[in-house]
């Protein structure tokens, strides 16, 4: 059997989450409750979908910072389209449109990175500006609060609904299933298809991949289209759940998402990353964003806390790797 590695990021992050919950439970007995859990799950939906995409890119040895702009673009463009052209469109079709818009924008990244061979960070920094600039210049800047009925229906569709002892309500929308489905599909792609094998292979040793005939460019192109599609879907889900489509939303989240993925053990150098780690990283970031106050840290320290977590989460493995390298020398 495989030996269990206690130093893996997943384990560390899990331990931090447990510690967080223990401290929170002591200071607020209501913390360990279903509403806390549904809040956590609800707040993880959009961030989680983003993180899955960001993780796949990191595994392949690249980095994408443009996905939030892709999401905002797909979300807002779809809402505008629905409002003006087909207000009665059912939500699945709207979601498909948003996903396609995302995929199309992703293919621009794919073209520049996979076909032209430009550096991924710089390309996606550039397309982040382009997508966002295009959206706000040509599509609109006004938020749409009167969502088309299809999207409103989706947002009201609850998986779990309940009442607390104090009379307040809690709920978990079906949107959470989207995250579950995406996680399952991505798991299948990464672990059960030759494409997924190729993604890990090009992230681990690009030259070896080329030598055994893996089409590195095609694989990379697929990845950026895939990430774009996920972002588009995350965008439309975000708008539906918020019941408002605001073109200024989402952009700015990209570094937090990458932070969550890296906390979960994905390596910036490529080849390593798991869905488990990614979701643990997302859970930790969401906990810090929402519940820091519960463990007695004022919410103004949120940013410091996330920064410190990133430094520790990446610093410990980097420090270990550096020492291991010095040993191997």
């Amino acid at each position: 059997m495989k030996s269990f590695d206690w130093k893996r990021n997943e384990v560390l992050v899990f331990a931090v989450i447990v510690a967080f919950c223990v401290v929170a439970a002591f200071s607020d007995p209501n913390f360990l409750s279903i509403p806390t859990l549904t809040d956590l799950m609800r707040n993880s939906i959009v961030l989680g979908i983003f993180a899955v995409g960001a993780m796949v890119v990191l595994v392949s040895g690249g980095i994408d910072v443009s996905f939030t702009a892709v999401a905002a673009f797909a979300m807002y463009a779809t809402t505008v389209m629905l409002r003006d052209l087909a207000p009665d469109m059912p939500w699945p079709l709207a979601f498909a449109i948003a996903t396609s818009i995302g995929a199309a924008l992703g293919s621009i990244n794919g073209f520049l990175i996979a076909i032209c061979g430009l550096p991924t960070l710089i390309v996606t920094l550039g397309t982040l500006s382009v997508f966002r600039g295009f959206l706000l210049t040509f599509i609109g800047t006004l938020q749409i609060s009167n969502l088309p009925p299809g999207m409103r229906d989706f947002s009201r569709w609850m998986m779990i609904r309940g009442t607390n002892s104090d009379g307040s309500f809690y709920s978990l929308p079906w949107a959470f299933m989207a995250l579950v489905i995406i996680a399952a599909a991505t798991w299948v792609i990464l672990n059960r298809t030759m494409l997924g094998r190729a993604i890990y292979a090009i992230g681990g040793a690009p030259e070896s991949a080329r030598r055994i005939g893996i089409n590195v460019r095609r694989t990379q192109f697929f990845i950026y289209v895939f990430v774009g599609a996920l972002a588009g879907l995350a965008g439309i889900i975000h708008a539906s759940m918020a019941r408002i489509s605001n073109p200024f939303d989402l952009v700015g989240l990209e570094l937090s998402v990458i932070a969550a993925v890296v906390l979960g053990g994905a390596r910036l150098t490529g080849g390593v990353g798991t869905l488990t780690g990614t979701f643990l990283g997302v859970a930790l970031i969401v906990l810090v964003r929402n519940s820091l106050i519960v463990i007695g840290i004022p919410s103004t320290w949120q940013s410091v806390t996330i920064g410190v977590l990133i430094l520790l989460g990446t610093g410990l493995p980097a420090w270990q790797a550096k020492r291991a390298e010095a040993r191997a020398a």
């Binding site: 430009l118 390309v123 920094l125 550039g126 600039g133 295009f134 910036l268 150098t269 420090w319």
Partner: protein
């Protein structure tokens, strides 16, 4: 001759800058070339030019500094808190000098912290400065509760809005810093080591060049440059706030790459960065006069960045 100019990254950039300037001068001749517009441009771009300078120096080592805005805001918030605490009735010139020194030392400390993370702990620069940037910005939020620090002495305005012999002070500061950094990169042992480290970090280590010290100095310098930019921003806004100029991080990276600094390290010239800033500013200001929104400018910047990279790609490939 023209061919030779167009074959160097900086040459092409100079042509682009000139082209943008001429195009804007033709499109909106009366207003673009008006003294008022030229002066206002001269006040606008130094702050992000200095941040771009900082990012460029980090990039020269093959790293990056995403914490520049965090450092700028943290140092200016502390400087502002310091000044508002001690502010009296006078102009407060002495106080300003003390605050400037304080903010520079904070910038230096923050930069050295980044350097330590990269050099000693082996964190990838992107993650180290991403995380530390959040910490710095977060400290500024924690100190101020997220609101702006006001009540600064009158002397502060001079830094961002004053003129020296008719030249805007921010421009003077930028000119001194750009010339200084450009000179240091070329004519000092530190500059040569920085470039060599960026060209091949492993070989630099094997040559016993003192790589850790170089990285510490590089990120320390980045921190100090960021602090200067923070002072200018503070002066122009007449206040300090934890989230001023948050879009400047990506802008600074964009300018550095546009200026021909190789993101993998080893190559980059300050003149290129200056030209990139100028072309961005001309474009930005001209588009502004043409009633183009801020958002369209953001888009055009992105297109410009990608276009320049594609041009560089084609011209590098065509080289024998």
């Amino acid at each position: 001759m023209i061919n030779r100019i167009l074959h160097s990254t900086e040459g092409r950039l100079a042509a682009i800058t000139l082209g943008v300037f001429v195009a804007m001068a033709i499109l909106v001749p009366d207003r673009f070339l008006s003294p008022a517009n030229l002066t206002s441009m001269a006040f606008q771009f130094p702050e992000f030019a200095i941040l771009a300078l900082a990012v460029s120096v980090a990039m020269l080592t093959g790293g990056i500094d995403l914490s520049v805005v965090g450092v700028a805001n943290l140092s200016s918030v502390i400087a502002a808190l310091f000044m508002s605490h001690f502010a009296g009735d006078g102009q407060g010139a002495g106080l300003l000098i003390a605050a400037a020194l304080l903010s520079l030392s904070i910038g230096l400390t923050a930069g050295l912290f980044n350097g330590l993370l990269v050099a000693k702990f082996g964190l990838p620069p992107i993650l180290a400065t991403l995380g530390s940037g959040l910490v710095f910005a977060g400290l500024a939020i924690a100190m101020t509760g997220g609101s702006a620090v006001m009540g600064l002495p009158p002397a502060v305005a001079w830094v961002g809005n004053g003129t020296l012999l008719g030249i805007p002070v921010p421009l003077v500061i930028l000119a001194i810093l750009a010339a200084g950094v450009g000179w240091a990169l070329k004519y000092t042992a530190f500059g040569q080591k920085t470039r060599m480290f960026g060209a091949n970090p492993l070989a630099a280590r094997y040559a016993a060049m003192g790589t850790e010290r170089v990285l510490l100095k590089v990120y320390g310098l980045c921190g100090m440059l960021s602090a200067v930019a923070g002072l200018i921003v503070m002066s122009r806004a007449n206040s300090a706030k934890a989230d001023y100029g948050s879009s400047y991080v990506l802008l600074a990276v964009l300018i550095a790459v546009l200026g021909g600094v190789n993101p993998y390290g080893g190559y980059g010239r300050i003149i290129g960065v200056v030209l990139a800033v100028l072309s961005m500013q001309f474009l930005s200001s001209g588009l502004n006069l043409l009633q183009v929104t801020n958002f369209a400018r953001e888009m055009i910047w992105g297109i410009l960045l990608i276009a320049v990279m594609l041009i560089n790609l084609v011209s590098f490939r065509s080289k024998p």
